[in-house]
Amino acid sequence: MSDTTPQSPYRIYWVTWLILLVITIAMLAAEKFHMPRWFLVLFLLAFMTVKAAMIGGNFMHLRYEHRRIPIMVACGIVVTSLVLLAFLTPETWNVRGKTTAPPPAAAASVHEVHE
């Protein structure tokens, strides 16, 4: 006789669903605790990553696949997104710099007032 009882093959979906539900409620409630902004952002991003990993690993069965598939998926999405952000971020600073500087006409009128 075996001491271990066979687990239901569907158990992993219930457990994952429950954890995802708890995380979602925690993310929603986090705003109410008035924590520092940087900590809140870190908290939300960390839990978003955990949720994504749980959906990919348990629901999409990535944890049971050959390791080349999760590597392809993670590298494909994460690296391309980082490249996109790396190109966009300097452009963002460039645009901000241009829009925060006073327009030439306004700058000229300021000089005239001082003179």
Partner: protein, 207 residues
Amino acid sequence: MHDGTHAATMDAHWGGGVSPFGATWQKTMMWIFIVTDALLFSGLLCGYAYLRMAGQLTWPATGKVFSLPFIALMTFILITSSMTMGTAVTAARLGDRKKAFVNLVFTIVGGAAFLGCQAFEWTHLIREGARLGSNPWGAPQFGACFFVLTGFHGSHVFSGLVILVVTAIRTSLGKTPAQGVEMAGLYWHFVDLVWVFIFTLFYLLPN
């Protein structure tokens, strides 16, 4: 002799005998499709981040525009439908056709409920004056970002629903193999995965 060895090597590595991803070609192609589709949403979210960072106008706090508990309810519905979809995939693999069909139907109901919630949210916001190029709350780009991001996601949910309906009907007739249910499941979970990012980056972070 040399030619024979070369031919044998070619056959072993390129003749279909070696599967570098350890999966069928259908599943491998599905994963490649999911990666490319994920890049579409990645581009949209990066564009949204760019608009927020580059603009000088104040963006509205999402908590004042949306009912966040209602958005959380939509998330709950989608997560639950993912759970029933996973159950359907495993049931199909184990040959339990009835259980697979019942869970596919539950998934379809969840997906339809999510789309209904989204339609309600869109109607509510449009009535309050939100448009693609303007809105009463702040930066005019907010409306475009909201409609494009949630619209693209909603269209994916809709196409997922069509795939699920076809899969459910074929499963009830015994015409869809377990792998067919698994492919439909992968797409449905992907839709759920994208929502996790939209929910956090668009709804929760800017609140």
